[in-house]
């Protein structure tokens, strides 16, 4: 019998039984250097973290709603249902002073003046793991465009969202959103695929309804114990109303957009303190917006007016290719270094903007480094800089220095200064907008062609510059469940680019001094209760009075989330926002209040897990969002989600 047993080549280890292999075998490095979140006390500046619980409790329907919960931020909905997000004002309908990254991929659009196209993120709120908002400029780590701050959106690892997820939202103002997600795995590959649709009617009395459809794929594959490959793809197709009823110069029309991206990130991890990362992505977006504008010139009696018409070809196509290599390592037990380089190529083709079908291109090369040096147990120095070579804005060095002093585990005081730049966009540098007008005068005069130039950029712009000095405090009182985060800032912005003249030219025209104090108290006394209190005081002085009014002087937000008996979840947000104005196509907005409520009931039945929620946004009186005539009325919607 024993012979029979041993005639087998070896005694197979029955699967599922513990053996020494469990102790001896290698495991993948999961919490790698880039995945480890820096404790807030070590962060080189003020950071607001928005986690999944917060995203849910906020009742946010779209990502921009979340930034209403970050001190110092302004959020609005501009022309054509375009969301705008600003920190400390200085923003128009193209919010371009902030860098936004989704899993390390810049979603800053190079089209027109440059902006974040929040409607085209190809991302569902449910796929977000957390959002880190770095308040204050950080070009040293994130390059130009990280001018006033950085929004880092980190999506969930697919292993965290396995199975099927369905969600449907229906509400007033035509709100109708659906999300379908499936997460699965195949050997060492975990993946998820999300498809979603979002639509609403925008503001009453405006032609600004929008529809967005998207698919997004993320696959994470473990190649070896050290190597991980992440692949992402996404595509979207949007349409939004633009123009005004009865306007012949800005007629009602539909803007159709579509685009896609592909991204690959390869990480090689040598343990928790050394890692190489290669990040490559490509994205293309195009918009089609072709319409006819009409006008007329009155002629002396008895001649009828001369009729004018022009075809506006606002079709555009933008592309970006980005390659980045980053290396994190420990210099010695007290010092950690992150360094790397990036190469980026961007192009924008727009006949309307450049008066040529030829794509306009930008090349960008960056070399960056940051040293995190623990000088003494209580002292941490972060010194970083980025050298950026831009094909027409020249070469700039953006340095950043932050000293953190932590006299006890509860208290951290940070002091620092930085210089950052925003490169001029292609349109600011090269815009040449010409309307080719056909004029039909009264008979017997023959039709004639006219050219009207509305933008003629002279070029040679310098990047906008911001010099920041800041002092901040972080109090973490774990036994009370209380976190205090306060930031006092002094931001000296110069060479602000603005358009002027007729035809319009872009010039480095203005300066602004932004000073203020903002804080957030976050109190989580028990697992069931969360209270946030944000307050921001901002004062801007500028040679341009519109800029001086571009941030509310006072803004306060109170957020409460409470678990109720029976499993119910209630949350409430109340904003008090002072008088302000957005720049560009806007006018001064009076102060307003806004109250949002959310009531949710999570349930579980067999393999099904789900939640039913109702949200009311702006329970208080209607207020103006971006212009006085963009009235934000009460919005109600209900969401049902199911997971199995």
């Amino acid at each position: 019998m024993s012979l029979a047993l041993f005639s087998a080549p070896s005694v197979a280890q029955p699967s599922g039984e513990a053996s020494e292999r469990d102790f001896l075998d290698e495991l993948p490095v999961v919490l790698s250097a880039s995945r480890l979140v820096q404790p807030l006390a070590d962060a080189p500046g003020a950071v607001t973290i928005i986690d999944r619980d917060m995203i849910k409790a906020s009742g946010a329907r779209e990502i921009v709603d979340l930034f209403r919960l970050v001190p110092g931020f302004q959020v609005g909905m501009a022309y054509g249902s375009t969301p705008v997000v600003a920190y400390h004002g200085l923003a128009d309908e193209y919010s371009r002073h902030m860098q936004v990254l989704v899993d390390g991929r810049s979603v800053y659009s190079p089209y027109f003046l440059g902006s974040i196209t929040w409607n085209n993120l190809r991302l569902s709120l449910d796929d977000i793991e957390r959002i880190e908002v770095l308040r204050g400029s950080n070009s040293a780590a994130y390059g130009a465009n990280a001018f006033m701050g950085v929004i880092n959106i980190i999506t969930r690892h697919p292993s965290q969202s396995q199975g099927t997820y369905l969600s449907a939202t229906q509400g007033s103002q035509g709100i109708s959103d659906q999300v379908l997600r499936y997460g699965g795995s195949q050997g060492d590959l975990h993946y998820r695929i999300t498809a979603g649709r979002r639509s609403d009617n925008g503001f009453a009395n405006f032609h600004d309804s929008r529809q967005a459809g998207y698919v997004a794929f993320r696959g994470d594959m473990r190649l070896t114990a050290r190597d991980e490959l992440q692949l992402q793809f996404g595509a979207n197709r949007n349409s939004a109303g633009a123009g005004f009823a009865g306007s012949s110069g800005d007629p009602e029309r539909t803007l159709n957009e579509k685009g896609y991206f592909a991204q690959a990130v390869w990480r090689r991890s040598f343990g928790p303190d050394e890692e190489f990362m290669l990040n490559a992505y490509h994205m293309e977006d195009e918009g089609s917006e072709n319409y006819m504008v009409r006008g007329s010139i009155n002629n002396p009696f008895p001649f009828p007016p001369t009729l004018l018409s022009a075809v506006v070809d606002a079709d555009r196509r933008t592309k970006r290719t980005h390659l980045e290599l980053q290396h994190i390592f420990r210099l010695n037990p007290a010092a950690r270094v992150v360094w790397g380089f990036e190469q980026r190529h961007e192009s924008v083709a727009s006949r309307l903007m450049f008066d040529t079908p030829e794509p306009q291109t930008t090349n960008l090369s960056r070399l960056f480094g940051n040293l995190e040096w623990r000088l003494a147990p209580q002292w941490l120095l972060n010194a970083g800089a980025m050298l950026e070579k831009h094909s027409f804005a020249g070469t700039d060095l953006a340095p950043r220095l932050m000293l953190n002093f932590q006299p006890s585990p509860e208290h951290t005081i940070r002091a620092g200064m930085s210089t950052a730049y925003r490169n001029p966009s292609l349109a600011e540098e090269r815009a040449r907008v010409r309307y080719y007008i056909t004029a039909i005068p009264p008979a017997p005069f023959p039709p004639l062609q006219l050219v009207q130039t509305s933008y003629n950029a002279s070029g040679g712009l310098q990047p906008e510059r911001i010099r920041t000095g800041e002092l901040s405090y972080l109090g973490e009182f774990r036994n009370l469940g209380l976190t205090v985060d306060a930031r006092a800032f002094h931001e000296n912005v110069s060479r602000i680019i603005d358009k002027t003249g007729s035809p319009a030219d872009f010039l480095n025209r203005h300066r602004a001094m932004v000073r203020g104090l903002e804080y957030q108290l976050r109190w989580k006394p028990t697992h069931d209760t969360l209270v946030l209190l944000n307050h921001a005081r901002t004062r801007i002085t500028s040679d341009d009075e519109r800029i001086a009014e571009s941030s509310p002087q006072r803004a306060t937000t109170l957020f409460l989330s409470q678990a109720l008996p029976g499993g119910w979840q209630l949350s409430m947000t109340h904003h008090w926002i002072g008088q302000m104005r957005w720049l560009g196509w806007s006018n001064p907005l009076p102060w307003h209040r806004r109250l949002d409520l959310r009531l949710a009931y999570p349930f579980r039945s067999g393999p099904f897990k789900g939640e039913a929620a109702i949200v009311t946004q702006n329970l208080t009186a209607p207020y103006s969002e971006f212009r006085t005539d963009y009235i934000f009325e009460r919005r109600n919607f209900a969401t049902l989600s199911l997971e199995f």
């Binding site: 280890q13 599922g16 469990d22 993948p28 999961v30 965290q160 473990r222 928790p272």
Partner: protein, 293 residues
């Protein structure tokens, strides 16, 4: 094969059989060999050598690893068997089989895993306020529930357990478990903790800002805050000690856990979780003091 591997017909009083001829098993075997130098001659063999069970003068048979242990237990060799470099659950299964077969041959073990009490002590030292210790129990670790609960009680801790049958049940189990606990303790059960599930487990615990305590150096590299484990040399040393005693008394000492062990910590993970962590030597010293008491 007979050239490379002395058959059990060799001259030694102690035969050490390895599950496979790789560095780890070699390290244990050679440490035993050098430990017994002067006391007994040791032959190092592989599993097929057990087919030749003619030896009568063999005093002890040592099996390194689970496969070797199973093969040695199934062989007809009469000598008392010491098994090592295997987890306690694997040994318990062997011992139960022998009991069922009413096999009278003496059997003893030096376990590879660390005693639960010692692991709880480590959690206590790194997180003095941790009271609720979570575990995920699979088919292999299910029977640990009672001893775990008892050990936790002795340390004034509370054990919170979730049962997991299949891979797909891990995520929902963690979702229930993590809000209820202060730390998660990994247990050697390959249907719950393995190279493909560790990612999910570590990401989920980390998201909840909770530390995972592992049971090998690989766990600490992967992202566990700390682990206690015995190195192959430490196992070899202890097995050598047991054999010396055995040779002197002509009887194997009873099964036990390794008294020598190594502590590994991941200061980066601890720092990111906001858990102040002492250096490894200081922590080790305090742990050993606790055990003496």
């Amino acid at each position: 094969m007979a050239m490379a591997w002395p058959a059990l017909a060799g001259a030694g009083e102690v035969a050490v059989v390895m599950s496979e001829d790789t560095a780890v098993y070699r390290a244990v075997a050679e440490t035993i060999q050098s430990q017994l130098e002067g006391a007994a001659a040791v032959d190092i063999v592989d599993i097929p050598a057990l087919r030749n069970p003619k030896r009568k003068d063999l005093r002890f048979l040592v099996a390194i690893g689970s496969q070797a242990a199973r093969a040695a237990a199934a062989s007809s060799i009469e000598a008392p068997l010491l098994v090592t470099l295997l987890p306690r659950s694997a040994f318990d299964r062997l011992a139960a089989e022998r009991r069922r077969a009413a096999d009278p041959r003496p059997l003893s073990a030096l376990y590879l895993d660390q005693p639960i009490g010692r692991q709880l002590d480590l959690i206590r030292l790194t997180m003095p306020n941790a009271r609720r210790i979570g575990v995920l129990l699979g088919p292999e670790s299910d029977n640990l529930l009672i001893p775990l609960q008892k050990a936790a009680q002795e340390k004034q801790m509370h054990l919170v357990a979730q049962r997991v049958g299949r891979d797909s049940e891990i995520a929902p189990a963690l979702q229930k478990l993590l809000p209820e606990i202060d730390a998660l303790l990994a247990l050697p059960d390959p249907s719950v903790f393995n190279a493909s599930t560790i990612q999910l487990i570590l990401l989920a615990t980390y998201r909840q800002q909770l530390p995972l305590f592992g049971f090998s150096a690989a766990y600490v590299r992967a992202g566990a805050i700390a682990s206690l484990h015995a190195t192959p040399e430490q196992i070899g040393n202890q097995a050598g000690d047991m054999l010396r005693t055995g040779l002197a008394r002509s009887q194997l000492p009873p099964s036990r856990y390794s008294g020598q062990y190594t502590l590994a910590t991941n200061p980066h993970v601890a720092h990111s979780l906001g858990i102040p962590l002492e250096g490894e030597p200081a922590l080790m010293q305090r742990l050993q003091q606790l055990e003496v008491r």
